[in-house]
Amino acid sequence: MNALARLATGFAAALLEAWQELRIHKLRVLLSLIGVTVAVASLTTALAGAGMARQMMTESLERDGRPAMITTYAFDPSSDGGPQGDDSVAQAFEKTSERFKIDYTTMIGRSYGQQVVSQGVALDAETLVVEPDYAPMHRLVISQGRWLESEDAQNLSPAVVVDQNIIRELGLEGQQLPFTVDLVSNGDAVSVTVIGTSSSRSFGMSGQLWMLPATYEHWFSERAPLNEVSYKMWVPIEGSEELAMHFGQQMQAELPGYTVDSHREDYLMWGADESLKQLALVVSGIAVIILLLGSLSLLNVSMVTMKQRIREVGIRRSFGATTGRVFFSVMMESVVATAVAGGLGVLISVALVSNESLLNMVLATELDQMPPFPLDAALLGMGVSVAVGALTGVLPALVAARVKIVDAIRV
C-alpha cells in the first residue's frame, strides 16, 4: 500500500513538474507545438472527414438497398410487359422466402404516372409500393410521423409516406401530420393520408411516395397498373450469391411458365467502398508526413532546450530526484505538451468538420443530415499526439537522465 501511495505521489508530482515546466516556458512550448497541433488537426480532419464522407456515401448508397440485397424478378415470356407482380408471383416469392427463412423481404412496385395535388399545386410523383420491411432494408429515415405498418392496409383512407420534395414543392412544411393530399392517376383523384415524411429527397423536381401493396391494389391498380415489380431480400453478405442462385431455382420451380431471375444487387458488388478507402489512405499519408515533420521540430527544440537545462537537472538531482524520476518527468513534459497540442488539434478539427456550411462547400452538395464527428478519429488524434509526445520525449529524457550531477551543478 505504501509502495502504491509512493508511486501515485511520484506520478502526480511528475505530472505537476511537467505542467510547471510548460507554464514557465509558454512561448517555447507554444512555438514548438504549433507543428504538432497542425499535424494532429490535419490527421484528425483527414480521418474524420474521410469517415464522415464514407458514412454519408454509405448511407446514400444504402438507400438503394443495404448489403447483401438480393433482387428477384419474374417475367412471363409470353407477355411484352416488364417484370410481373401478380398473385401467383407474390405467393411463390412468399413461399420460397419462408422456405429459406429470410427475415427481411419486400415487394417493390413502381408507378410513374401519378401526381400529388394540394391546394391547387400539382407535382409529378413516383409511387413505390412496398412492404413495412422496406424502410430498414433501405435505410429510410422518417423525419416526421411514422413509417407504414401492415395494419395501415385496413385504413379507410390510403396511408402514404412522402419525401421532402413533395413537402417542399407543395408548400407543406410545418403542416401537422397526418394531413391529406390528392393522388391523381389518369385524371382520377383519390384523397390519401400522409402519415409520415422521410428525410430523403429524390433527384430532380418530382416527388416520391410509399404505400402498402394492399393499399395500392385497392385504390389505384385499376387506374394505374404498376410499371414494374421486383422482390427484394436483405440477407447476410456471406453466402448471399449462392443463396440468390438457389432461391431463384426454387422460385422458378414454384412458377412454371415464368422466367425467374434472382441475383445480388447492392453497392458493395461494384466496390464503391474502395475509392473511399484509397482517399482516406492518401489523406492520412499526407497527415502522417506533416506529423513526422512536426515531431522532428518538437524533438529539435526539446533537445536544444535540454542542453540549456542541464544545470536545473543537476539541482533537482541534488534534491533527491532519481534517474528514473528525471527521465519520467522530462518525458512527461513532452507528453503533457503534445496532449494539450493534440487536444487543441482535435478541437480545431471538430470545428472544421462539424461546420455544415464549410462541409457543404467542400463536398459541393447539401446534406440532409449532418453526420456526427467520428469519435474514433478524435481518439486516434489524441492517441497519436500522446504517442508523439512519448517518442519525442525519450531522447531529451535520456540526455537528462544521463547527466552527471557534479558536472551539471557546475555548468
Binding site: A5, R6, T9, G10, A12, A13, L16, E17, Q20, I24, H25, R311, E312, I315, R316, R317, S318, F319, G320, A321, T322, T323, G324, R325, I405, V406, I409, R410
Partner: protein, 235 residues
C-alpha cells in the same frame, strides 16, 4: 541524539584520469567524522579539492578508495536510487551561485525539493515551504521571482530550500562567495542559527577565514589533505 556519526570518511581518496592518461590526485587520505549538530568549516584555496570533498559528503560523487559511512552504512553499497533518496531525505545543499530554479517564484523554489518527498510532506508542500521562507525572513516575498531578489535574499531562499525537508546534514559550498561581506555574514549567521534550531549538522566549504571562524570545528584542505585547525566541538 544518537552516538552514531552521520558521516564518516576513512582514508578517502579521489583521483581522476586526465586526457594524457596521467592521474590527478584530488583528495588523499581524508578522515572526517560528522555527527548531529556539528558545524564544520573546511577552508582552502581554489583548486584544493574542497568541492570534490563536498560532493563526496553529499553523495553526489564516490571516493576512488577509502570508505564513506553514511549513518553507519557503507555508501559504496548504496544504489543510485538509495543515494538519491538519502540526498532528498537527509541532505540539504546551499550553493555559491544560489542555484535557484529559473522562472519559478521563491515559494516554488522552496517547494521544489518537496516534489520528491512522499506522503504528507508532498501534499503539504505549500504550507511547509511558506513556513520555511518565513523562518528566513522572506514571508513577504513568497511570489517574488529570483531576479527581483537581492543576492542575500536569493541565498536565504536557497537556505530555506535546503532546510525545508528537515535534513540531518546541510552542505554549504561557498555560501557567501557571491555576496558582499556584511550580507555574507548575515547569511552565515542565519544558516548557523537555522541549523542549530533544526539540529542539523552544517558543513561549510569556504575560502573565507571569517566565515570559517563561525564554525566550531575547522579544517584546512591543502594538497588534497585535510588538517584540523581545531578540534570538532559538539554543540
Amino acid at each position: 541524539m544518537s552516538d552514531e556519526p552521520l558521516l564518516k570518511l576513512e582514508d578517502v581518496t579521489r583521483s581522476v584520469r586526465l586526457p594524457d592518461d596521467s592521474e590527478l590526485h584530488i583528495l588523499n587520505g581524508i578522515d572526517l567524522t560528522v555527527s548531529e549538530g556539528d558545524h564544520i568549516a573546511i577552508v582552502g584555496r581554489s583548486g584544493t579539492g574542497k568541492s570534490t570533498l563536498l560532493n563526496i559528503l553529499g553523495l553526489l560523487d564516490r571516493p576512488t578508495s577509502g570508505s564513506l559511512l553514511w549513518r553507519g552504512k557503507d555508501a559504496a553499497r548504496l544504489s543510485a536510487k538509495q543515494a538519491a533518496h538519502a540526498r532528498g531525505r537527509d541532505l540539504g545543499f546551499v550553493f555559491q551561485q544560489f542555484n535557484l530554479l529559473p522562472g519559478r517564484t521563491a515559494l516554488e523554489n522552496v517547494m521544489a525539493p518537496l516534489m520528491y518527498a512522499s506522503g504528507r510532506d508532498f501534499w503539504n508542500r505549500r504550507k511547509l515551504a511558506t513556513e520555511a521562507l518565513e523562518r528566513v525572513g522572506l514571508g513577504g516575498r513568497l511570489d517574488s521571482m529570483p531576479q527581483t531578489l537581492s543576492g542575500g535574499e536569493q541565498q536565504r531562499v536557497a537556505i530555506a530550500r535546503a532546510l525545508v525537508r528537515r535534513p540531518r546534514v546541510v552542505l554549504a559550498d561557498e555560501p557567501t562567495g557571491a555576496l558582499d561581506v556584511s550580507t555574507g555574514r548575515a547569511v552565515m549567521e542565519l544558516l548557523d542559527s537555522a541549523t542549530v534550531d533544526s539540529g542539523a549538522a552544517l558543513i561549510t566549504i569556504t575560502h573565507d577565514s571569517n566565515v570559517a571562524a563561525l564554525a566550531r570545528g575547522q579544517f584546512r584542505l591543502d594538497s588534497g589533505r585535510l588538517h584540523p585547525l581545531s578540534e570538532v566541538v559538539v554543540r
